[in-house]
Amino acid sequence: AQSVTQLDSQVPVFEEAPVELRCNYSSSVSVYLFWYVQYPNQGLQLLLKYLSGSTLVKGINGFEAEFNKSQTSFHLRKPSVHISDTAEYFCAVFSGGYQKVTFGTGTKLQVIP
C-alpha cells in the first residue's frame, strides 16, 4: 500500500519568513511525489513534482522540495513567504502499481502580515 502523512494540519508563519511543510510517504515500490496547492474554493494546482533525477526539485511561486529516500520524506520549503501563499498544500504520492494518486490530509499555510 502507499500512504502519505502530513503531520502539520496548520502552519502559521509571518510574512517574509521561511517555511517548511512536512511530508512523509510510504510505498513498497518506487514513487513519484507531488505537492499541490489549493486556494479557497478552487481546484488543485501542481506546485512541483519529483519523478526521477535530482532530489532537489524547484517549482512555481518560489517553492522547492527535497526528496529524501532514506527518510521517505518530501518536505516543501520556501525561503520567504508572501500573503498570497496562504492556501492549503497537499502532498501526494503515485506509484504505478496502484494506479492512483494518494493524497495527504493537507496543511493549511496561514501567512500573517
Binding site: F34, G43, L44, Q99, F103
Partner: protein, 113 residues
C-alpha cells in the same frame, strides 16, 4: 500546454436526482481517473478507467456510481441517485500511461440539497 477540462464548474442538484459530471482528458492520454474531495477533507481516489473498463475502484465507488467514455473525447462520472453526502468537489485526471503522472482538471463542485 494541454490540460484537462471539466464541466460544469458547479452543479446543484436535489437529493435523489441523477447527475453527470463531464471531463475532457488530454487528447493522447489513455488512462482516466475520478477523485473527490469532501469540503475540508483530503482528496480521495474513486476510480481508474482504461480501455473502456474500470481497472481499479475504491470502496467509495459503489453501485450508485458509474463511469463512461461515450466518445473519443469525453469521460463522464454518473451518480444515479444523489445523497447529501455526495456533496464534494470532483476532480477528473488523465495520464498517458499507468506509470506516468496524472494531470488534474479544475474540478466540479457538486452540491446536493
Amino acid at each position: 500546454e494541454p490540460e484537462v477540462t471539466q464541466t460544469p464548474s458547479h452543479q446543484v442538484t436535489q437529493m435523489g436526482q441523477e447527475v453527470i459530471l463531464r471531463c475532457v482528458p488530454i487528447s493522447n492520454h489513455l488512462y482516466f481517473y475520478w477523485y473527490r474531495q469532501i469540503l475540508g477533507q483530503k482528496v480521495e481516489f474513486l476510480v481508474s478507467f482504461y480501455n473502456n473498463e474500470i481497472s481499479e475502484k475504491s470502496e467509495i465507488f459503489d453501485d450508485q456510481f458509474s463511469v463512461e467514455r461515450p466518445d473519443g473525447s469525453n469521460f463522464t462520472l454518473k451518480i444515479r441517485s444523489t445523497k447529501l453526502e455526495d456533496s464534494a468537489m470532483y476532480f477528473c485526471a488523465s495520464s498517458a500511461a499507468v506509470t506516468y503522472e496524472q494531470y488534474f482538471g479544475p474540478g466540479t463542485r457538486l452540491t446536493v440539497t
